[in-house]
């Protein structure tokens, strides 16, 4: 599999969440294609030097979120049924976390809901102008 995941164990974000986020991002970007096989739990644990149960936990949550399918004895694959949906969901999950953190930060430094709304609209206008 072409995806190179990296984890930062010194970060305050639990490692399994880092793995989930990066796999979702890879799916959203199409780096991980429909039906593509993920490394085995043991292989990814050794590649990243992280606990195998941490990888297993990430895979379980990815399965629950509809991003991957795990066939016992065969391995884990990017979901092929409704792949478009899971890709979209994965992209939305990644983006939601980023937007959420930004809004929380804006609120914490004293902005009101209207101000934040205006900023978001402004940002959308800036980045989506070339869209038909």
């Amino acid at each position: 599999m072409p995806v190179v995941l990296t984890v930062d164990p010194r970060s305050g974000v639990p490692i399994y969440l880092q793995v989930i986020e990066q796999i979702k991002r890879s799916v959203a970007l199409g780096i991980l294609g429909t039906g593509e096989q993920l490394p085995t739990v043991k292989q990814l644990a050794l590649d990243l030097t992280i606990n195998p149960n941490t990888v297993a936990k990430a895979y379980r949550e990815l399965e629950r979120d509809g991003v991957i399918d795990t066939a016992p004895g065969r391995g884990s694959f990017v979901k092929s049924n409704g792949a478009a949906d899971s890709t979209k969901a994965a992209a939305r999950d990644v983006a939601r976390d980023v937007v959420d953190a930004a809004v929380r930060e804006a609120k914490s430094i004293g902005l009101k809901a209207d101000d934040v709304q205006a900023l978001v609209t402004e940002s959308i206008d800036r980045w989506f102008t070339e869209q038909p």
Partner: protein
Amino acid sequence: MSIVTISHLRKTYGPYTAVNDLSIDVPEGCVFGLLGPNGAGKTTTFKCMLGLARPTSGSIAYDGQPLTPAKFDTIAYVPERSVLYDWMTVAEHVEMQRRAYASFEVKHAHELLAQFNIDPRKKTRALSKGMRTATMVALAIARKADLLILDEPTSGLDPINQRHVLNLIINESARGATVIFSSHQIGQVERAAERIAVIDRGNLALEGAVDDLKAGRKIVEAIFPSEALSLNGISRDGRILRVDRSGRIVRLLVSNDSAEFVAKLEALGGTGVRIVDLNLEDIFLYAVAPQETTADVVEGAIK
């Protein structure tokens, strides 16, 4: 299910208390990291687990039973200090292990030694400190033990070999073995361990799953309009482990539900409220921080 249960372990040496009152459960198949400052009681705990030191009181049970010779043979131990015989070659140590343990795999041992670039023809006195550690780790891994107890298994090793030892630990875990290891390198524990315990002055300071500790423990920080603030007794909340104040800034160390404390601090007039993630080193340092100072700050904050 727990493979090892330590209950109220106490070990004193004359007037010196090495372990005061320690209770830990280690689940089967888990990689368990034991952390603590120097002299916290980690090595004494390992020795008691292995029957190499007799507990003053308390008990250690394996699958609910006391340690038996048969059980002892399924445990591989790497002590903190080298127990290799200076006058023997590495290959002779391999041979000695083969005779001692039926499950010992000679071929695997030589593969592991080669991975560390250790020449088995060398006498162990010719090995550096790190290479002695690596030799002991290789001999322990080749045992195919059910439980590995590794006291500082990366000490003296360069970063590449440290990483290799961690991967060996991960590999052991993936085949179903339980690994308990201590290390001063918190980053290594953060990578390899699923659960950790922090021992401080012979007592358990903290225990839990690394992911849960990181997900739960946060600093919630807020700025208040005046230094004369009242926290309305929220610092009596059991989930608040510590309160630090400097001027108008208040920092709460919470064990869980950080979002709830954001709301509480905002309701009290706090602004710029933010949640700060903690890594394992921060969590460790807070766990072993002197409690007296914490109590003073809490007292000041409650008003």
